[in-house]
Symmetry: C2
Subunit: 164 residues, 2 copies
């Protein structure tokens, strides 16, 4: 098997997050979230606006910490979990994945709902999020369900504003 493969950006992600970004997309986040594709890919956006949701894949480019096999998620109250059981951005292959809503496709830009990525993040791929194939109604919260402060954490996961 080959040792490594090359990925090349197909465009850039524009967000209001210049110096800090949330851990997950926030339902109430304000501002402009856009996928700006390189001109050669404009036609490849045809029909994308027929989907309510899409997957956005990107290169998590501003990581400086070394990769570790255990992660300490900010929500997990000090608990360490296996890296692959976490959504930590510090991964052997720092490929970010977000599910976002398509708001509009205009030329080579896709206006989307909020996305937890820094402004300027290299865009790698867009895939349609298809009902049944991708939406699993019996999904669970995994180890998050074991945490004493679970109910509060779920507000963060759902992006619901709360003041405690």
């Amino acid at each position: 098997m080959e040792d490594s493969f090359q990925v090349r950006p197909i465009g850039v992600i524009r967000t209001p997050y210049k110096d800090s970004a949330p851990y997950q997309p926030l339902a109430e986040a304000e501002g402009d979230f856009r996928l700006v594709l390189d001109p050669e890919w404009e036609s490849a956006l045809q029909d994308l606006d027929r989907f309510r949701y899409i997957y956005v894949l990107y290169w998590i480019h501003r990581i400086t910490r070394p990769v570790a096999v255990l992660a300490h998620p900010p929500w997990a109250e000090g608990k360490a979990v296996g890296l692959f059981a976490s959504r930590s951005p510090v991964r052997p292959n720092p490929i970010g994945l977000s599910v976002v809503q398509v708001l509009a496709v205009e030329g080579r830009e896709v206006k989307v709902s909020s996305l937890d990525a820094f402004d300027g993040t290299p865009l790698l791929d867009i895939k349609p999020y298809v009902k049944d194939l991708d939406s699993k109604e019996d999904a669970d919260y995994g180890w998050l369900e074991d945490l004493p402060d679970k109910d509060h954490l779920l507000l963060h996961i759902k992006g619901i504003p709360h003041d405690y």
Copy 2:
């Protein structure tokens, strides 16, 4: 921005598909589907078995066709759609994404439900699929809803066996 980034396999995907693979995971597919991680990543699987579903990211390594901005999905009855509105494996960055069930974690292997990848596919990442964050109950079928043979296609998407 950098021109390109390197990804390195963290392991390999084992499936029964040596020479042909389905377009999407089949609910009724038989056989052994496993993610076999390189030894250094065994500890990073801790807590993964607490999740019902995970994302599997992989390098689609057996593509020989050139990338085109329009795709002709096998289900779409000749219709051409924008590449990013399709799940075609022929993409500028051939990163495959599947949602699978975790059946068991044993040492450095994850036994999973069926996966539409060839045996020997390089594994890039595993992420937990988290309720609410990833399961969108109001997702739709996009342009698939426009097709005259929609009901039949949905059986394929859902992986439901049928003989017509």
